[in-house]
């Protein structure tokens, strides 16, 4: 739904913008109708769309502004600068609300009074006399004109009225003015007093209040009288807007239903007729028959004055009836609703539709539905027909009934024109019922049949056969059969609500557009996240400090609590940002085929590159930093691995060499393999070379196994190539590849079999994840070392460090641990002799080592970044991280440092 909100805010801002501009234009150059119209339309759009969201105050304000502009448009109100200013104010207010909506900080409770206030000011221009709410009579009268007899009360409304009090409908009718009545059930929350609410007085000031009752349970002696137990029901005459505005603060505590006064009078008609029949007064009955209003008024008034109404119930009804008749201004409805025996079927059918279809959803809608079938002569015969040849189609859901009823109404309406309306009605009904129609009569009959539930069950089987011939009906029949009539409702309630909604929403999601963002922005975001990560790490220290120095345990606890929140948020933020940066490896891989083709051609070799797993996702920065080493490895394979075609044929291999480039996700890592089917590497040759170049010692030359020997090609200053190929220029050796890979947090291994081929296997983290590093100090500078590598920290007397041959050795728990002085390795001055040394014991593939440092510090989470600029050449650092205070932390590459040390 938030996408919808985004669209809404975006669109509405445009509307606001355009409306403001037009308003300013109008203020400077007068109200041109098309400008007013444009502003009206803008506000109308905002109002209409805002209705989709639960932001009532905004909707109401936009509505008020729209109404004012409508009046201006219709020349009922002349535009003034005051109006312009107020409208601009309203637009600004709406704009402010959009700002809040956008960041999610909206507070509807706060909006409400602003909305009411501005709305009232706007409406004041429309009708200066209307004291807020008490009457909208002018408007009411105007809207009366076209309202027709197609209205009635729903059953629920009738029940509510009857429940309110006996003859409540009649009594209300006596007093109605304006087109709309309401019935409100106001059940304040128990705790409402504590919010400063005063329900009874709220109810007493309801606009157009006609009657109310207050229900109050007996209170025990120990009852809490500050719990509100009052239940209020009230009826009166006022427009929906006015009531909703009045009750706006009490949303959720009340239910209200609205009905038109016409509907009320229509539903009272029979009751009035009944009562009239019981009043034995010829003057009155004659006057009514003659529709002589004056006479009715006066004779009813006379009767009212002279009658003795000491009798209880039934006379109450009579009295009210007379009261009504004595003041009635219109009696047409009495004769209009006279039930005709022919139309009864149609009437009852449509009535039940209006009730069933919309109870609880929308009362207004139900008012529209009822047909005026009884007035239409041709239909009566149809309905009659329907009774005889009843051939019902299927069980209808309430909404289907409502639709069908409307079509029937359309068919019978005064301005029905066959040529214009028949095709769509016939098509629609045909589609619903699975039939085709050629003329109005059969169509009307079919609708009436379909609407008539009663006979369905008996004849369901028959229809079955008929319908199965038509494609369109197939589905509907199925639905009919699977759901018995009682299950119908539950199906309607549940199916569309839950089961169906995910689907369209999903479809919507797929349409979401990609956003192209400058990578530097994301990198910047990443930097900030990194800093945030570090900054949040200071909170536990603050907490500790608060407890130790400030002596406030409570404060310390609060800080810790906040830390856990900030920590969680930072982590989510981090992973979100990391997700943004994920790209498929194809991003880098796609450059290679061409590279390989060019290289192969240059060397007169035939090589085929096979790539797999190109859609494996990878952090963009990581993959870019890997591009270089991968190229180097590929070159290596082409240059030294794959043999020339002649050589290959000689060895019985296919002429074309093959290089596989495979990316495979593995948990949080990705394995990248570069495999060639070339000549392979001879471990003995490597051993020898390594010895010659001083990479390994003589003793190692003998003890090292083949696999270890192969890994020697990654050692610094090693190159197997006997003659320097022009391709492996740039001075990048395998050691550089290894450095780059380990800087990216990965590892690299090589496997090779002479004559079969060589495989490089890179294991890389999928994201630039957060590393926990241990901080320590050497020569007043902070350094870090990956927490994974740290085994323990010990402090030993300097004398414990022994010198054996060329190495410093420390014995910890009977284990010999070579130690390395970091001051020396990092090129700092030697420290004055200390009595005690801090040793950081780290584990490496070569075993445990001790690093002599100056001082231990805490461990922190950092996002490690590769070395840049001048530092890039220093292999003994694996990367840098930014500290909370802006300092850069250098992270030690333990293996490199140890190599230097020895």
């Amino acid at each position: 739904m938030s996408e919808l909100l985004d669209v809404f805010i975006g669109e509405s801002r445009e509307n606001l913008e355009s409306a403001s501009q037009e308003l300013l234009e109008i203020q400077s150059s007068g109200p041109a109708p098309e400008r007013v119209d444009k502003i009206f339309r803008d506000l109308h759009t905002i109002k209409g769309s805002s209705d989709l969201f639960d932001i009532k105050p905004l909707t109401r304000l936009a509505h008020a502004a729209e109404d004012l502009l409508d009046s201006v448009r219709a020349n009922e109100v002349s535009f003034s600068n005051d109006i312009g200013d107020l409208l601009l104010e309203a637009l600004d207010q709406i704009s402010i609300w959009f700002d809040e909506l956008e960041v999610g900080s909206q507070d509807l409770e706060q909006w409400q009074p602003i909305s009411v206030n501005l709305g009232a000011q706007l409406r004041h221009f429309i009708d200066p006399d209307a004291s807020c709410g008490s009457s909208n009579e002018n408007e009411a009268v105007s809207s009366k004109e076209s309202s027709s007899v197609n209205q009635n009360l729903t059953d629920t409304q009738r029940e509510l009225l009857a429940d309110f009090s006996e003859n409540a409908d009649l009594k209300l009718l006596c007093q109605t003015y304006g087109p709309y009545c309401y019935l409100i059930q106001y059940t304040p929350d128990e705790g409402c007093f504590f919010r400063g609410e005063d329900p009874v007085n709220v109810a007493l000031t309801l606009p157009g209040l006609k009657a109310f009752n207050i229900a109050m349970p007996e209170l025990d002696h120990d009852a809490d009288i500050y719990n509100c137990m009052t239940r209020i029901k009230a009826i009166g005459c006022a427009d929906e807007d006015v009531i909703k505005q009045h009750m706006a603060y009490y949303e959720g505590q009340y239910t209200v239903t609205f009905f038109s006064s016409q509907a009320l009078s229509a539903s009272c008609a029979s009751k009035i007729r009944e009562n009239i029949a019981q009043i034995p007064d010829e003057t009155l009955t004659d006057a009514i028959a003659d529709n002589n209003l004056e006479q009715v008024n006066s004779s009813a008034g006379l009767l009212l004055a002279s009658q003795d109404f000491s009798d209880a119930d039934c006379d109450d009804a009579k009295r009210v009836t007379l009261q009504f008749l004595s003041t009635a201004s219109e009696l047409d409805f009495l004769s209009r609703a006279e039930p005709s025996s022919h139309a009864e079927t149609a009437e009852s059918a449509s009535q039940s539709i209006s009730n069933e279809a919309f109870v609880g959803t929308d009362d207004k809608a139900s008012v529209n539905v009822l047909s005026n079938a009884d007035e239409d002569a041709p239909l009566k015969s149809n309905v009659k027909l329907a009774d005889i040849s009843a051939r019902p189609e299927k069980i209808l859901a309430p909404h289907e009934k409502a639709i069908l009823t409307q079509q029937l109404t359309l068919l019978n309406s005064d301005n029905y024109k066959t040529e214009l309306m028949f095709p769509s009605i016939a098509g629609l009904v045909g589609n619903m019922l699975g039939e085709t129609f050629s003329d109005e009569d059969t169509l009307a009959v079919a609708i009436c049949n379909a609407l008539d539930d009663e006979t369905i069950n008996e004849q369901a089987d028959e229809i079955h056969k008929q319908q199965s011939t038509e494609e369109a009906s197939a589905e509907t029949t199925q639905q009919t059969n699977t759901s018995p009539s009682t299950a119908d409702f539950s199906e309607i309630n549940t199916v569309p609500g839950r089961g169906d909604s995910p689907q369209p929403i999903k479809a919507e999601r797929q349409a979401v557009k990609m956003l192209k963002v400058d990578q530097t922005k994301i990198d910047y975001l990443m930097d900030i996240v990194g800093e945030l990560t570090v900054a949040k790490n200071s909170l536990p220290y603050l907490a500790k400090q608060a407890e130790e120095e400030g002596g406030s345990r409570k404060l310390s606890k609060q800080i810790k609590a906040h830390f856990s929140i900030v920590n969680r948020l930072t982590e989510s933020l981090q992973s979100a940002v990391l997700q943004i940066r994920m790209v498929p490896v194809s991003h880098v891989f796609q450059r290679y085929p061409r590279l390989i083709r060019d290289l192969a051609r240059k060397l007169d070799k035939k090589i085929e590159l096979c790539m797999q797993g190109e859609d494996t996702e990878f952090d963009k920065n990581l993959i870019e930093s890997l591009s270089e080493p991968l190229i180097h490895l590929l070159r290596n394979s082409i240059d030294h691995g794959i043999e020339s075609p002649e050589e290959r044929i000689e060895k019985g291999k296919p002429e074309t060499g093959r290089i596989d480039l495979i990316a495979t996700p593995l948990d949080d890592s990705v394995i990248i393999e570069i495999r060639d089917d070339g000549k392979g590497i001879d471990p003995n040759k490597i051993k020898l070379l390594a010895f010659q170049k001083g990479v390994i010692t003589e003793s190692q030359l003998e003890s090292i196994d083949d696999n270890e020997a192969l890994q020697l090609i990654f050692a610094a200053g090693f190159s197997t190539s006997e003659q320097v190929s022009d391709l492996s220029g740039r001075g990048v050796g395998m050691d550089a590849v290894k450095t780059m890979v380990s800087q990216a947090g990965g590892t690299i291994e090589m496997y090779s079999e002479v004559g079969v081929g060589t495989t490089f296997k890179l294991l890389l983290p999928q994201t630039m994840s957060v590393n926990r590093v241990m901080m320590f100090e050497v020569s007043d500078q902070m350094f870090g070392v990956g927490m994974d590598a740290v085994v323990e920290t010990v402090k030993v007397p300097t004398s414990d460090i022994q010198r054996i041959r060329n190495e410093h050795i420390l014995v910890i728990r009977e284990k010999l641990i070579p130690v390395c002085n970091l001051r020396e390795a990092l090129g700092f001055e030697q420290d004055v002799d200390r009595e005690e040394q801090s040793i950081l014991v780290v584990s490496t593939p070569q075993g445990e080592f001790g690093l002599i440092i100056d001082k231990f510090h805490e461990g922190i989470d950092v996002i490690q970044k590769p070395l840049e600029g001048v530092l890039a050449g220093y292999a003994h650092f694996s990367g840098t991280a930014l500290l909370g205070d802006g300092r850069v932390l250098l992270i030690i590459n333990v293996q490199e440092v140890l190599a230097k040390c020895r």
Partner: protein, 84 residues
């Protein structure tokens, strides 16, 4: 003082705020025969009405204020009040 508690009668005057509800309730609970004088009462908070309607004490003098016509009716067990 919107409510003056005398020996047998509580005299309610002007507008009675929500704070009065509790003392009125306690006072009425103490003895069933206690009465209220509403002569000068003009309006009250729902909580105060709630006490009056729930306890329905005997009323020594009914309110003069026209605004409270409904209170008279409801306290006389008429469930519905029509504004006429």
């Amino acid at each position: 003082m919107p409510i003056a508690f005398k020996k047998k009668v509580a005299v309610m005057t002007g507008h009675c705020e929500i704070e009065e509800a509790e003392s009125l309730f306690t006072w009425l609970n103490e003895e069933a025969s206690r009465q209220v004088n509403l002569k000068a009462l003009t309006s009250a908070h729902t909580a105060v009405y709630q006490v009056l309607l729930a306890k329905k004490p005997k009323v020594s003098v009914w309110p003069e204020s026209e605004n409270l016509f409904w209170l008279i009716k409801i306290m006389n067990n008429k469930s519905n009040v029509w504004c006429e």
